[in-house]
Symmetry: C2
Subunit: 414 residues, 2 copies
C-alpha cells in the first residue's frame, strides 16, 4: 500500500483531488529558460540569463544564509565572490566544492571540500546570491567598498509594518545565499562550504532551514501545504505564466535602476511564526473563511476545484479573506513569485513549537509589489491573530552568471 489513505474531501461535499505525490517525488517540468526537466537527483544549470533558484522549480529543502562582510578590503571581497562562484558552479553540478576534493591528501592543508556530500548527486541544487542594502552603505552610512553610487532605489529599506516584531539579529545582512535541493544534506553542504571559503571575509549573520516548499513555482508541481494545513501556491506566479508576465512582474528591466541589476530581481524574506496551537483550536469553517479557500481541495470558497477562479465579486469570499486582500486586483495587478518554505525551529520554551513559514518572494520591485500587499495584510488580515513576522530581509538578486569566466557580482564590482 503505497498511496495515502488520508481523506481529501471538499467542504462543498465533493470527493476530490487524489494528489498522492510525496513531496520528495520526481517532478517533470520545464522552466522559463527551457532547460531540461530536473529530477530529484539531477543538476540544474548554473549559467543562464537569470540565476537559477527563482523560476526553476522549487525542490523541497532550503538552507538560506545571510552573511555580514567583515573585511574592509574590496579586493578580498571580490576574490571571495570569484571563489564562491567557482565552488557554486561545481557543487550545483554535483561535484566537490574544489578541484582537489574532500579526500585529497594526506597533507598539511585542509581538504577543499568538507566531505559530507561525497557520493550524493546534485539533487537539484541551486545557489542564488543576493546583495543587501548594507553592502552599499552601512547603517552608520559608511561606503565600505565604493558601492554607494550603485545602490538601486529598489533596495530602499522596507517600511515598518503594523504588528511587526522584527528581530534585527535574524534580519538583513550584506549578502544572502539561497540553497535549494531535494536533499537537505546537499543544501547544507553547499552553504557550509561557502562559509568555509569565505573565512575571514564574511561571517554568518543568520541562517534558516526549511522544508516542503510552500509555493509551487511551476504548474507541473502539486501544490504543497503550509503549516496552516492549506495548499499554498495555487495562484502563485509561475514559470508557465510566460515571458510577458515574468518581464512585467519578476525581472528587473533596463531603465528600472542601475544597469547592473537588469535581468535580476528583488527578494523579500520574512520569517513568519505561526501560532499553530491556537490555529489548531479554531474550526474548519473559520479557517476557511480567513484564507478564502477550502482546506481540502484548495478551491476558492464556493468553488469546486483548486484552480477555479475565485469569484471576488460575490459575497461568498469574506471581505477580509487573505486571498482577497492579497489578490493582484486589489493592488493594481501586482503579483509575487512566492517561494517560501515551512520551518520548525524546535520549541519556544513556553511549551509551543516554534514553527511557521519562511516567506520568500521574488519580484521586479518590492516597493511596488510586496510592500502594498503586506501593508494591507498587516492592517486587515484576520490571519494576524495567528502569525507574527519576526525577521525581514530585502536583497538585490543580480542577473545570472553567463559562463565560466563570469562571477557572482561581476556587473556590480566589474
Amino acid at each position: 500500500m503505497s498511496v495515502s489513505r488520508r481523506k481529501v474531501l471538499g467542504a462543498a461535499g465533493i470527493g476530490a483531488a487524489g494528489v498522492a505525490a510525496i513531496s520528495v517525488g520526481a517532478l517533470a517540468l520545464s522552466d522559463d529558460s527551457a532547460e531540461a526537466a530536473p529530477s530529484v537527483t539531477q543538476p540544474v544549470a548554473f549559467h543562464g540569463e537569470h540565476q537559477a533558484g527563482i523560476v526553476t522549480p522549487a525542490p523541497d529543502r532550503l538552507h538560506f544564509a545571510s552573511f555580514d562582510v567583515i573585511t574592509k578590503n574590496r579586493a578580498d571581497l571580490v576574490d571571495m565572490l570569484k571563489a564562491w562562484t567557482k565552488a557554486a558552479r561545481r557543487m550545483t553540478a554535483g561535484q566537490d566544492a574544489g578541484p582537489l576534493g574532500a579526500v585529497a591528501g594526506p597533507g598539511a592543508a585542509p581538504p577543499d571540500d568538507t566531505g559530507e556530500a561525497i557520493g550524493l548527486p546534485a539533487a537539484g541544487l541551486t545557489l542564488t546570491i543576493g546583495f543587501g542594502a548594507t553592502l552599499f552603505r552601512t547603517a552608520e552610512g559608511t561606503d565600505r567598498f565604493g558601492l554607494a553610487d550603485k545602490k538601486p532605489a529598489g533596495l530602499a529599506d522596507l517600511p515598518h509594518f503594523p504588528r511587526d516584531d522584527i528581530d534585527a539579529a535574524i534580519s538583513g545582512g550584506d549578502i544572502c545565499v539561497q540553497a535549494c535541493s531535494y536533499d537537505p544534506q546537499v543544501a547544507v553542504h553547499a552553504i557550509r562550504n561557502l562559509v568555509r571559503i569565505g573565512f575571514g571575509v564574511v561571517t554568518v549573520r543568520w541562517s534558516q532551514l526549511g522544508y516542503g516548499r510552500t509555493s509551487s513555482t511551476s504548474t507541473a508541481q502539486a501544490t504543497p501545504r503550509n503549516m496552516l494545513g492549506f495548499k499554498d501556491g495555487t495562484r502563485n506566479m509561475k514559470a508557465e505564466d510566460g515571458p510577458k508576465v515574468l518581464k512585467e512582474q519578476l525581472w528587473v528591466q533596463p531603465g528600472d535602476g542601475p544597469d547592473w541589476m537588469t535581468g535580476g530581481s528583488y527578494l523579500v524574506t520574512r520569517k513568519i511564526r505561526n501560532h499553530i496551537e491556537i490555529w489548531d483550536r479554531t474550526s474548519l469553517d473559520e479557517q476557511e473563511q480567513i484564507i478564502g479557500r477550502h482546506k481540502g481541495t484548495g478551491a476558492p470558497i464556493g468553488e469546486a476545484k483548486e484552480f477555479d477562479e475565485p469569484k471576488l465579486g460575490e459575497k461568498k469570499i469574506a471581505d477580509d479573506a487573505h486571498i482577497r486582500l492579497a489578490h493582484p486586483s486589489t493592488h493594481g495587478g501586482a503579483h509575487l513569485l512566492r517561494r517560501g518554505y515551512n520551518f520548525v525551529d524546535g520549541s519556544d520554551g513556553l511549551g509551543r513549537l516554534n514553527a511557521g513559514l519562511f516567506f520568500m518572494a521574488y519580484q521586479r520591485d518590492a516597493h511596488k509589489q510586496f510592500v502594498p500587499i503586506q501593508r494591507m495584510l498587516a492592517q486587515k488580515d484576520p490571519l494576524n491573530e495567528y502569525i507574527k513576522h519576526t525577521s525581514s530581509g530585502l536583497f538585490a538578486i543580480p542577473a545570472g552568471v553567463r559562463d565560466d569566466n563570469d562571477y557572482w557580482g561581476s556587473a556590480l564590482f566589474g
Copy 2:
C-alpha cells in the same frame, strides 16, 4: 546525468565505493521482526513485540519532541496516552490523526487533523514513545502519578561527564516521542498532532529536527555521513546482527528490572554541537587520525574497504582514535544501536553555523553501555576539541503496542 561526479578516493590511493544512493532513495531491507521492506512511501507496522523506530531502518528525517506533563491527574494522562496511541496507529498507516480527518466540517469544533499531510503517504513514519525519570518522581521528589515504585534502576540519572555543557531547558523531559520519516512534513505533522491532542495534559519541553540519519541500522542501507564528513554507522549495531546480539545488547530482558520494561530499551539523546569551522581548517590526515578511519572509503586506517576489521592490535590506529576508544573490546563487549541525525539550527550569533549531531543510541542498559563509552570519550577523545555536548536525555522505551486494544504505556499504567 544522474549520478554524482564527486570524487570518492581512499587515502590509501584506491578508487572506491561509487555509492550514488541519494539519501531519499528507496531502500529495500528487512527488519528484525521480518516485516515487509518499507520504501520511501510505504508504512511501517505500528504493532509488534518491540516499538518501531529502533531496529527498523532509519529513514532520513527526524522530529524528536520531549514533553512535560502539566496535569496532576493520572486518569487524564492515561486518557491522553490512549488517544495518542490511536492517532499514532492511524498516522503511521498514512491516515489522518482522527477518524473525521482534516476537512470534516464545517462545524464549531476544530478538525481532528491539522491538514498539512493531506495527500502525503505514510512515508515510513515511525512514532516511538519513551518515559523519562521525572515522570516517576519529579526533580523535587514528588510522585505525581503513583509511579515511583515502578521506576526502573536503568532510569537513574546519567552522570555528569567531563566537558559537559548541558542546557537543562533542552534536556530531559517526562515523555519523549521520536518521529522518523522520509518526509519532514510527515514527521512534523505527526508531532504537531500529538501536541494538539495533548493540549492541557502535556506541553513541549524541547524539540529537535534532524536529517540524513548518521547511523545505518541495517546492512542494506548505504552508510550516511555526519557533519565531520565521515561515514557514520559502519560498525553500528544492526538488525542483521540477529536476535542473539539484539537480546544481549538492545532489548530489556525479563529480570533486568520491573516487568513493564521487558521487551523495551533505553534511549540516550545527546545534542552534540560540532565546531565545524574549526574542523574544516584541520588537515585530512589529522581528521583521519582522530576518527581512526579514512574519510573517503570509511575503511579503518590502513585498510582498504569500509567493512574491513580495524586492526586495533597494530599501531596504525592511534591510541586515542575515536573508533578505538568507542570499540566494544574497550568496554567488555558493550555496543550501541546508534540512530542519530545531523542538525543545523541556524547560526549562533557569533558568525558560525549551529550544527552537529543529534546523537541517539538505544541499548539494554545505558549505565553499562553508553555511560562507560562516553566516560572514556569525554576523557580522551581528541574529537572533544571540535565538539560540545549541549543537551542530554535518558528515556525508558517500553515494548511494542501489541494490538488495537493496547496503548502506549499500558504495561506501566495498566
